[in-house]
């Protein structure tokens, strides 16, 4: 590795330094745009007591769901969970903690975290269980709750293309939470479908500038579909 070259050759290198008890931010919505190989590498590594900040927790046998198999997750910060039996079992048994966070608030918590803003006010969740115990402030006659931002020890991100400097482009709706996660990790690791030389991506089309990215690895992806819906031609 030299200069701005962020490319690493192995998944072991990509996740070097990930330790028990750390907080990991993960991109993805459902199974779309999830860093599936980085998740698998965490499983192989056997890191435990992890807190994951991710909109969902995968399904049984795929995505973050695989990390439930060996009880590697201590806590999930998510907006919607429970598409997996194992999740339900561990939650009901008290082995897993869940902090339900509205989807927009979750995205903004990561965006703010990466942008150096420690907290913000939002109307989302005021007067609901989400607002309990949080500071309330009135602006122009409307009540808002204070939400604290989130940063992570690691961010694991899936992008479509990267150049070796770590400039990223996402593909279609696989973008979702990935750009915010990328900004908010102390170490941001990105797996991509294609790595090109600097200059090959149009600078005006970069979604995530390389300044946020620490490591880039080339992967191959299954891209499992959660709800396959088609129409007849």
């Amino acid at each position: 590795m030299s200069g701005f070259n962020k490319v690493v050759d192995s998944y072991a290198q990509a996740l070097a330094g990930l330790e028990n008890g750390m907080t990991v931010l993960a991109g993805g919505f459902g199974l779309c745009g999830i860093p599936e190989n980085l998740i698998q590498e965490i499983k192989n590594k056997g890191t435990k007591e992890l807190t994951f900040v991710s909109n969902n927790c995968g399904v049984d046998g795929f995505g973050l769901g695989v990390l439930l198999e060996d009880r590697q997750i201590k806590k999930m910060v998510s907006s919607y969970v429970g598409e997996n039996k194992l999740f339900e079992e561990q939650l009901l048994a008290g082995d897993l903690e869940v902090e339900l966070t509205p989807q927009g608030t979750l995205a903004e918590k990561m965006r703010a975290g990466g942008a150096g803003i420690p907290a913000f006010y939002t109307a989302t969740g005021y007067g609901t269980p989400v607002g309990e115990g949080k500071e309330v402030k009135e602006f122009n006659g409307r009540k808002y709750i204070m939400e604290e931002s989130i940063t992570g020890d690691f961010a694991i991100v899936k992008a479509w293309k990267a150049d070796t400097y770590g400039n990223l482009i996402y593909r279609h709706t696989a973008q979702n939470f990935n750009p915010m996660a990328a900004t908010a990790g102390k170490i941001t690791v990105v797996e991509v479908e294609e790595i090109v030389e600097p200059g090959e991506l149009d600078p005006a089309h970069i979604h995530t500038p390389g300044i946020y990215v620490d490591r880039v690895i080339l992967g191959t992806f299954e891209k499992r579909i959660e709800q396959r819906t088609v129409r007849t031609a």
């Binding site: 919505f29 459902g30 199974l31 779309c32 745009g33 909109n55 998510s78 907006s79 919607y80 969970v81 429970g82 339900e88 939650l91 009901l92 339900l100 509205p102 989807q103 927009g104 608030t105 979750l106 995205a107 903004e108 990561m110 965006r111 939002t122 109307a123 989302t124 969740g125 005021y126 007067g127 609901t128 269980p129 989400v130 479509w160 593909r171 279609h172 709706t173 696989a174 973008q175 979702n176 939470f177 990935n178 750009p179 915010m180 979604h207 891209k223 499992r224 579909i225 959660e226 709800q227 396959r228 819906t229 088609v230 129409r231 007849t232 031609a233």
Partner: protein, 218 residues
């Protein structure tokens, strides 16, 4: 006769206007897309990060990287844009979406809505619902008027944990079109063949009934 799911969606669709950006929730709200009035242009927002949701793909078009907020594979409509979740909720929270349609378990006379959690059952989460109800000015709740056991879902005070406080002004049920003003339900229209008496029997919260309550027109 109580409205079918399809008729309910059809009635909600009459509230759309040309040039509207609309967010449709899962379930009956999704069906509303099938009844956009002829000659009207409406763009559907999907909160995972798509403005301009098109129909489901053909087998040939199927793409794992192209899904909606229900995690179904979709296509992008002509003129669509795709963005991050933060951008998507900036649109929603910032009040830029013209109409939001979503389901609920309960609504009360103060415009409170409960739609995401039943204590004692497994809590899956609120997804984007809390952001949608907090951010939108024009929200329509669609639901059956009463539960399968006959319990009213239009209450004086919600019994379930809230999704949002004081944010609902319009409800379309299988029996009626109702508005909420001054901490009361106001009966605006009734489903064809449904009596005001039946609607009142199935409404627990206080309801104002004008002299003449027209039937919905389809």
């Amino acid at each position: 006769m109580a409205l079918t799911r399809e008729q309910l969606a059809q009635r909600v669709a009459q509230e759309m206007q040309d040039g509207y950006y609309v967010n449709l929730g899962i379930g009956i709200p999704t069906l509303v897309a099938n009844y956009v009035p002829d000659g009207m242009e409406v763009m559907l927002q999907s909160e995972n990060g798509l403005l301009g949701m098109g129909p489901f793909p053909t087998e040939a078009e199927l793409d794992a990287d192209m899904i909606n907020a229900g995690k179904q594979t979709v296509t992008a409509a002509t003129g669509a844009s795709i963005f991050s979740s933060a951008e998507s909720f900036a649109m929603i929270r910032g009040g830029h979406v013209d109409l939001t349609v979503l389901g609920a378990f309960e609504v009360d006379v103060q415009g409170n809505i409960a739609s995401y959690m039943i204590p004692g059952k497994l809590i899956k989460g609120m997804g984007g619902a809390m952001d949608l109800v907090a951010g939108a000015d024009n929200i329509i709740v669609t639901m059956t008027h009463a539960s399968k056991h006959g319990d009213s879902k239009l209450l004086t005070k919600c019994t379930l944990p809230l999704t949002g406080a004081g944010c609902i002004k319009k409800i379309v049920t299988d029996l009626a079109f109702i508005e909420i003003k001054d901490e009361k339900f106001h009966l605006i229209e009734r489903a064809p063949g449904v009596s005001v008496k039946e609607i009142l029997e199935k409404t627990a919260g206080e309801m104002v009934v004008p002299k003449d309550v027209p039937e919905m027109q389809f």
